[in-house]
């Protein structure tokens, strides 16, 4: 008995040691088919940012190899680890030839590695020059997907509460609707907004996406596109919408710091909330077997009570830019440029991007996407509504967003004040820009 126990103890000890080792090893994200030796024609290695689209990219790569014989490796970084993965991959002897940055601030890290795309075919395919990411005169990156976000509403629930989304076209309307639902919460059985979770999986919806609105309106008012000293002109409106979210929600504001993105989505899917702030990328998670149909859902603009609200559209823009690695071999660079061009011009490529990936791509040969929210964005624009552009790529740093998120969470829980949020927003912006340039 003692011997058996001793053996068991030894075994568990070994397991403990092994698991301790295991937890410290960084497992590289590898969903690709391994390294492919570069032929004379060159090869492509794409480090993909979006895990949702991994399978679609793998398939597209296979099709391309079958058609042209050029090997394409697609590797997807695990969610939230793109920068780390890129940093270690790019130092290898076979670095990624195609990678992505998330806008001017991301470019600051990688501009020394970006091939100038100004003479490339794929640059000529862009529908607007605004989708190119420039570093001086050089074209460092090219946007490959355009997305929209707003407040996703459950029409069925709103109808139960006696509201119609057509009636909501200003902050006042939204506030009246949300407060009416909250007042009758017990009777209706649902809340106005799904939880505004401030866990890392969800806080970007507020510290980045919602914060875009006061920044957008300030830029509009001042006629600028970026600044190193934000004034915070519309922060009172930011406070108003944030108060509306947290006080008319499924949960107590103090509990928000622990709520995740999944919590919020599940509440919306279960019909516990009528509104859910998110974007077109959520479409696949909301519609389908046992979930909603297109008829249940609608996306409305995020009204914060500034500007011409009747003509405000969804927040539409991009933070996904393709960059080509300039330190790759010349034939690999050429192969990569050809692959990019094929993706956005060929029938197969554009169809895969629209249908399998659900993307709207800013290229001339783009196909129509079946994504409801994307179609709505087009419809709003056709009605003459003005889309709100994405200005968060001009936010000074990730750190700025994190500090803002912390301040918002503390304010919601009552352990911080709104002054803390204002300070994180305005003072933090200035100090982060100083650090960026210093």
């Amino acid at each position: 008995m003692k011997k058996v126990f001793a053996l068991l103890l030894t075994l568990t000890l070994c397991v403990g040691l092994l698991s301790a080792c295991g937890s410290k090893t960084e497992t590289p994200a590898s969903s690709g088919e391994g390294e492919t030796s570069s032929a004379a024609t060159g090869s492509v290695y794409y480090l993909n940012f979006k895990p949702e689209q991994d399978e679609a990219w793998q398939n597209l790569a296979k099709t391309y190899t079958e058609e042209t014989g050029v090997p394409v490796t697609v590797v997807t970084a695990a969610s939230g680890t793109y920068e780390q993965t890129l940093m270690s991959e790019i130092a290898k002897s076979t670095p990624p030839t195609l990678f992505q940055v998330n806008g001017p601030v991301g470019l600051a890290n990688w501009k020394d590695y970006c091939y100038d795309l100004s003479d490339s075919d794929v640059y000529g395919q862009l529908t607007s020059d605004g989708f190119a990411l420039k570093d001086g005169d050089a074209v460092a990156g090219i946007a490959y997907v355009v997305e929209s976000y707003g407040i996703i509403a459950n029409k069925t629930l709103l109808a139960q509460a006696g509201w119609d989304v057509a009636d909501i076209d200003s902050f006042e309307d939204l506030k009246a609707c949300a407060e009416d639902i909250t007042a009758r919460k017990a009777e209706l059985g649902f809340a106005a907004f799904s939880s505004a979770g401030m866990d890392g999986s969800s806080d970007w919806r507020f510290k980045t996406h919602l914060a875009n609105l006061p920044i957008y309106f300030e830029y509009q008012a001042d006629g600028i596109g970026t600044t190193d000293a934000i004034k915070g002109t519309y922060l009172d409106n930011y406070k108003a919408i944030w108060d509306l979210y947290i006080n008319n929600s499924t949960c107590d504001p103090a509990a928000l710091s622990g709520k995740t993105g999944d919590d919020s989505r599940n509440e919306f899917l279960a019909g516990e909330a009528a509104f859910f702030q998110n974007g077109s990328w959520e479409y696949g998670n909301l519609v389908g077997e046992g979930k909603f149909t297109d008829d249940d859902l609608v996306m409305i603009p995020i009204y914060i009570g500034v500007g011409d609200e009747a003509n405000q559209g969804l927040c539409t823009g991009t933070e996904n830019y393709w960059c080509v690695n300039n330190s790759a071999k010349e034939e690999d660079i050429q192969a990569t440029l050809d692959f990019m061009n094929w993706c956005v011009t060929s029938e197969t490529g554009t169809k895969a991007m629209a249908n399998d990936m659900g993307f709207v791509i800013p290229f001339k040969a783009a196909q129509e996407s079946p994504n409801l929210f994307v179609k709505q964005d087009a419809a709003y624009t056709a009605e003459g509504k003005v889309p709100v552009s994405w200005n968060f790529p001009t936010m000074p740093s990730e750190n700025w967003k994190n500090e803002l998120g912390t301040a918002l969470t503390a304010y919601a829980a009552g352990t911080g004040t709104w002054d803390g949020v204002v300070s994180a927003f305005v003072d933090g912006w200035a100090s982060e820009y100083a650090a960026l340039n210093g």
Binding site: S23, Q84, G200, S257, T415, L436
Partner: protein, 283 residues
């Protein structure tokens, strides 16, 4: 035999020595060089002089992280070792089910730090919600207490095993002789058991001290440094500097912090080893 060893020692030493050079010495030297540079990838580094060290030593967050880590290390080392020793003493008294208790206490150590962090995050947040208190990531003192609880829960079992081994290796005649001489239990503990346990205490203090100082997984999962870097420990601060920031200068700052961190850990553990070694007795 002696001759064979004299002749063939390189065969035994060289593989490990090579691994040590490749896996430790060379990367360390490279890291030392990089701590004076600005870089994104290590093959394109440009020299930056002492700026990285000046930044690291003057940054408020890093200094706060140092004091936070130091406080955490002291508190957790004391808690872990006191509790582990107490349990080890209790479980060497030949009570029924001793083996079961030992393995149960040891179990938490088998779960990885990240997983433990998330589990305790949920548990503690639920308790705090029920009590109507601010959650872990909103209130730094709770974050600190949470980290101590988590570390104790994870480490006590491990240290307990080491103490039990130490206690069992104390020859029975020492204890018997003490009893015959009329020593009571307390005297036996302080005058016989503890002095003979010093090798175990040395290793346990060393382990819990360095574990506390180098803590990363649990910190990341439990509080993530919130609120506003107030519960950020040194390793997490270095990680955030390196990966959470854009621009080549931040990599250099992170690297400089890492070198400072490494030196600190070495110095502290050497001091501790020297201090406790001197108290060890020959059996």
């Amino acid at each position: 035999m002696e001759k064979a060893i004299k002749k063939y020692w390189p065969v035994f030493v060289l593989p490990t020595f090579a691994a040590f050079i490749i896996g430790f010495v060379w990367p360390f030297l490279q890291g030392l060089y990089l701590s004076f540079c600005k870089f994104i990838t290590i093959d394109k580094a440009s020299f930056n002089g002492l700026k990285n060290y000046i930044f690291a030593l003057t940054e408020a967050d890093f200094l706060h992280a140092f004091w936070f880590t130091a406080l955490f290390t002291v508190v957790s080392t004391l808690c872990i070792n006191a509790a582990a020793l107490a349990i080890a003493l209790a479980l060497t008294r030949e009570i029924k089910g001793t083996n079961l208790f030992r393995s149960v206490f040891f179990m938490p150590n088998l779960i990885g730090g990240i997983v433990l962090g998330y589990i305790w995050n949920i548990l503690l947040n639920c308790v705090l919600t029920l009590l109507g208190k601010p959650l872990l990531s909103l209130h730094a003192p709770y974050g600190f207490i949470g980290l101590v609880i988590l570390m104790c829960w994870q480490q006590i079992g491990y240290m307990m095993i080491i103490y039990i081994a130490g206690l069992q290796s104390i020859p029975g005649d020492y204890l018997e002789a003490a009893r015959i001489d009329g020593a009571n239990e307390r005297q036996i503990l302080w005058k016989v058991k503890l002095p003979n346990l010093m090798p175990s205490i040395t290793i346990c203090l060393f382990l819990s001290l360095t574990n506390g100082f180098k803590l990363f997984d649990q910190n990341l999962a439990l509080t993530g440094g919130d609120p506003a870097h107030k519960t950020e420990m040194l390793a997490l601060n270095i990680y955030q500097t390196f990966y959470g920031r854009s621009g080549p200068q931040w990599k250099g700052y992170g690297q400089a912090k890492a070198v400072i961190f490494c030196v600190l850990v070495i110095v502290i553990s050497l001091c501790q080893l020297r201090a406790t070694r001197s108290k060890e007795v020959q059996q």
